[in-house]
Symmetry: C2
Subunit: 355 residues, 2 copies
């Protein structure tokens, strides 16, 4: 088992990565005597029982949400509060998120709000949640007009990544997770990007040692950035590479049509393409990025029928908009991401049309 | 104009108390260039236009919520997000709460959650909001099973109390606010309690100098407690004197049947009565407390038809429950409140029956 640390002073916490970690009592120590596990209808039959064994000495209950990004809203969030209140969970309760990014984001936000804040534990069961959403304390739900627009920063007590849960993940979800893995290489880790180029097949074949390395490296890269800028006043926005484009696609097509990772994959290609158009990066690098994304069985182009105008309109509803100007995460090369609003919007439009 | 300070390190903020403060640009400096004013259908016709003049140099818009405690829920909260997103308010937005406690709590919570947190300003227009809910950063909404169960700690940038807004407040609302004023006397300020005994008529007659004194003293008493214990890990719970009983009545009768202050008034009488039953306080003091509460035209007894069993059941859904045991704020005399779970639940039942 590997153990990493997210350094955030009093809010620091460990990330455990290994095999057969589900149900291990020693890793997950809740505050108080009450534990509510939040999961979804896909994950519950597979891992809920095993997870509950880790909390045998606590009062436990569970909430099973419907599965999918389209359920990540205030109405479904309220189901968690319904159970907490009807089952008399008090302020000494720890919530446990067992599932993918949607479950993690919603459980974390419920924990941030229940009785004005209770602790929570992340047990991510998808690759995407393991390498990205379970680490860093961003929680929240979607609004019909924008993704993740309602939420809170709320750090977990710990993150428990059981590699065995990846065995039940379908291929499409695995690829979606690999999009976020590639992202870390592009942001500031050329060496990792090169490693991914030579280990794509191993990852797709679910080779445990390759997955373990990729997950740990991704978590470490993310933890380093989060530790410097917990609330995204600066550098943390780099983690949104591909996300402004991706969120627009997700929101525009309706939540759940494209997986989050698929949106991000397309978004990274568009960011690379625009960066080249601005003369900041070579076309060779763009091709190299697209090739790796394709290798991971991910989309690289704006979906057919999705107009550039709609894309640009939706991109304006982004948390990085300031005074009407959209800041984008762009690339000055592989491993050199920057945040900038110094670009010509007309060039952005042209670059998108090119796709 | 008086200026008080809530001392919370980086989150410190001023409270301004005076006449004709609405519309004064100098008091309310938002972050960023965008201001959304949240108010309700009662307050909007009276004060919205005047309030907007203070933000003439900003992009402004407003949301007008229905008036009343029964609208303090996630569904109505979402109306604030609808406007923020459809009108393209970005992370550089400041929300302004213009209204009573419901508007303040909901606006503060919307600010805590919008894009994971934007600043907000409190402009309370009811006595209750001026002396209690606008100060201290408690925000949130109700759940059908419990009051204020979903929320966040989120401190405002400033609190602007314009005494003139009290001229349009109806008598019942004025009295409800005076319940929270009495509360400060009971908690730790005997001198203030005595002042209230001799100034009840002046307050009910809306004498400006009496109101100004009572509001400033209440805010100062609250600020002192909040500064020592922002997140209610200890002494701040004293501010809930009367609230566990009061919330049970509010929730049980349906939000809005009794005003919050009316519930608190009854709750303080019950707390006093139970404290006397435990032998901690004299019957003379109980009578003195009830007399002042009656003088302020407030109820002192459990409403007819509300059973003790229902009361006790609802009291179990309280943020001060720990491991099944309900902590109560009780009195060891006027000006000497304590938080305790050291009481015989049977005696509590008997004490309530006595009422």
């Amino acid at each position: 088992m590997k153990k990493l640390q997210v350094d955030l002073g009093a809010r620091s916490y460990p990330i455990y990565i290994g095999e057969h970690l589900l149900g291990q009592t020693a890793l997950t120590t809740p505050y108080g005597q009450q534990v509510l596990i939040v999961t979804n209808e896909t994950v519950a039959p597979l891992y809920l029982k095993k997870t509950l064994t880790a909390f045998a000495n606590f009062k436990t209950d569970s909430v099973i949400l419907p599965d999918g990004e389209k359920y990540k809203n205030l109405t479904v969030l309220n189901k968690i509060f319904d159970t907490l209140l009807s089952q008399r969970f008090d302020r000494q309760t720890t919530l446990v998120a067992l599932g993918g990014g949607v479950v993690g984001d919603m459980t974390g936000f419920a924990a941030a709000c229940y009785q004005r804040g209770v602790p929570f534990i992340q047990i991510p069961t998808t690759l995407l949640a393991q390498v990205d959403s379970s680490v860093g304390g961003k929680t929240g739900v979607n609004h019909p007009l924008g993704k993740n627009m309602i939420g809170a920063f709320h750090q977990p007590l710990c993150v428990v990544i059981d590699l065995n849960t990846l065995q039940t993940l379908d291929d499409r979800q695995l690829s979606a997770g690999l999009a976020e893995v590639i992202k870390y290489g592009l942001i500031n880790d050329l060496e990792f990007f090169e490693w991914l180029e030579s280990h794509a097949e191993a990852l797709l074949a679910r080779d445990f040692s390759a997955l373990s390395f990729a997950i740990a490296r991704s978590c470490q890269d993310k933890a380093n950035i989060v530790a410097k800028d917990e609330r995204e006043s600066g550098q943390r926005a780099l983690l949104n590479l591909g996300h402004t484009f991706g969120h627009a696609i997700e929101t525009g097509l309706g939540y759940g049509v494209y997986l989050h990772g698929e949106g991000v994959a397309i978004g990274m290609c568009l960011a690379a393409q625009f960066s080249a158009r601005l003369g900041w990066m070579s076309e060779t690098d763009v091709t190299r990025i697209k090739r790796l994304i394709e290798k991971m069985v991910l989309p690289t182009r704006i979906p057919k029928g999705f107009t550039i105008e709609r894309m640009l309109e939706l991109m304006q509803v982004d948390k990085k908009v300031q005074a009407g100007k959209l800041r984008l995460v762009l690339l000055q090369g592989i491993g050199k991401a920057i945040i900038t609003d110094q670009y010509d919007p007309q060039l952005l439009r042209q670059s998108l049309k090119q796709d």
